[in-house]
């Protein structure tokens, strides 16, 4: 079943296209990794899908809803079904516990359920025992894991990750990747992950998309993209010939 349909999506900032005419469909439970050089438009694409800004033109259809014509209330509902972990996450000036509970407080959940989910999410990212620590005193890697726990606790149907493991050491990258795989396979969460790391894109992605200059150059299975690329730009990028 198609969960996300993006049609002819474009976003222009001051006469320059950040995203140009991108179209793709994504089925439920798929793990979609986006690769591409810096400034290719990966982050903009994720932000448009999460309704953080409107597209210049084109359509995004999520779960059968056309996101461009959704009223404000439905927009919030659609966002609450998604989760977004940013490349440079910020934490609120509160405890780790309060940070992870932040999104849950908007969902009218009973307090024991919130407590249970916070505890479980912190456990998953290896931050058990950090509950009462002030979030602003944590290291960059720990903040990234708090941000991930905060999003996972909301149990999204679709997870958007923008370089979510960039600040982590290899042990924690492995830990987070396992959590993501578990969420994807066992909890049927559809994931779109932008990453610079080819190996990670290959390891995790059912589908891989190569974005460059705001365009989706090529999209296919990890095997197709990494072993049999159809476009010479994809080939140049994954072989490391492309200097960026």
């Amino acid at each position: 079943m198609t969960l996300l349909k993006v049609s002819n999506l474009s976003k222009k900032y001051a006469e320059k296209y950040a995203i140009k005419d991108i179209s793709f469909e994504l089925e439920q439970r798929k793990f979609f990794t986006l690769i591409g050089p810096s400034g290719a438009g990966k982050t903009t694409l994720l932000r448009l899908i999460n309704l953080l800004e409107p597209p210049t033109s084109g359509e995004i259809e999520y779960n059968g809803w056309s996101l461009s014509i959704l009223p404000k209330k439905k927009m919030v509902k659609a966002r609450r079904e998604m989760g977004f972990v940013f490349q440079r996450p910020v934490v609120f000036s509160a405890t780790v516990n309060a940070n992870v509970a932040y999104g849950l407080n908007f969902r009218n959940l009973p307090s024991d359920e919130i407590e249970k989910r916070v505890h479980r999410a912190l456990d998953m990212v290896g931050l058990q025992g950090f509950e009462e620590r002030k979030a602003l005193t944590l290291s960059g890697g720990e903040i990234q894991r708090v941000a991930l726990a905060r999003t996972l606790a909301t149990e999204p149907k679709m997870l958007l990750l923008d370089e979510a493991t960039a600040d982590l050491d290899p042990t924690n990258v492995a830990l987070v990747e396992n959590v993501l795989k578990k969420f994807n396979k066992e909890k049927s969460v559809t994931i779109i992950m932008a990453t610079h790391n080819f190996f990670q894109a290959k390891r995790l992605g059912d589908i891989v998309g190569f974005v460059m200059g705001g365009e989706m150059i090529e999209m296919g299975t990890a095997d197709q993209i990494f072993n049999h690329p159809q476009d010479e730009r994809t080939e140049a990028f994954i072989s490391g010939e492309m200097i960026y």
Binding site: L52, K72, V90, S93, L136, R150, T151
Partner: protein
């Protein structure tokens, strides 16, 4: 020695307590009202996108530095017997003094709130929205994150209000037992050549301002996170 004696004399006179209480009541009420208006106004002006945003910025920043005597004159013209609000008979009452200081303090709270919420919004907007916040929940989050700067703005506004003399002198008239505040009493003592008493009153005013700011600082520290 003269100042010490004057301090003793000031405290032994019952009138001093009445003057101190009036100063605190007028400036405290004006600051409270300024916070009630300035925080929501600062949030709306700071967070909403509208035509003429830069012009509003300039106007608020200019209003933050309005001379108290000009404010006093403006309020005087409003509440004087022939003014549009003359029928309220507010001239030379503590209420007129509160109105004048409210006009002085509101732009300060508004301007500092505007700047504080804008910087916080840039940092937290996307995170809050992506976690499912509605617009109201986003604004509450921004208010919480900007609370330390907003409290600082209230501190500054109170400091300006309790230390100004021009506005309350014009609209209050420095009437004994009615509208005489700490600053207007200092002016009077100076004019009478009673410098010891004027300095003593000045010291008491500084201590008063210090004590009130100590409360604000304690509130700020209570909400601050150690980094």
């Amino acid at each position: 020695m003269a100042i010490g004696e004057s301090l003793l004399e000031a405290f032994s006179a019952g009138e001093l307590w009445q003057i101190m209480f009036l100063s605190l009541r007028v400036s405290g009420t004006a600051t409270f009202l300024a916070a009630c208006c300035g925080i929501p106004l600062g949030m709306i002006l700071g967070l909403r996108v509208y035509v003429g945003r830069r012009m509003i910025n300039n106007l608020v920043n200019t209003a933050m530095g309005l001379p108290p005597v000009v404010i006093g004159l403006f309020v005087f013209l409003l509440v004087s017997r022939t003014g549009p609000l003359g029928f309220l008979e507010l001239l030379y009452t503590p209420t007129a003094m509160i109105v004048a200081q409210w006009v002085l303090a509101t732009p300060i709270v508004t301007g500092i709130t505007m700047a504080a919420v804008r910087s916080v919004q840039n940092k937290y907007r996307d995170t809050a929205l992506s976690l499912g916040a509605t617009e109201t929940q986003l604004w509450i989050t921004i208010l919480k994150e900007a609370r330390i700067s907003i409290l600082a703005g209230i501190c500054v506004a109170f400091g300006q209000a309790i230390s100004e003399v021009g506005a309350i002198m014009i609209v209050g008239g420095n009437i004994r037992f009615t509208t005489r505040a700490m600053t207007t009493a200092i002016v009077l003592q100076t004019r009478m050549g009673l410098f010891g008493m004027a300095i003593a009153l000045g010291l008491i005013l500084i201590v008063l301002a210090f004590l009130v700011n100590l409360i604000f600082t304690t509130l700020q520290e209570g909400t601050e996170v150690v980094r």
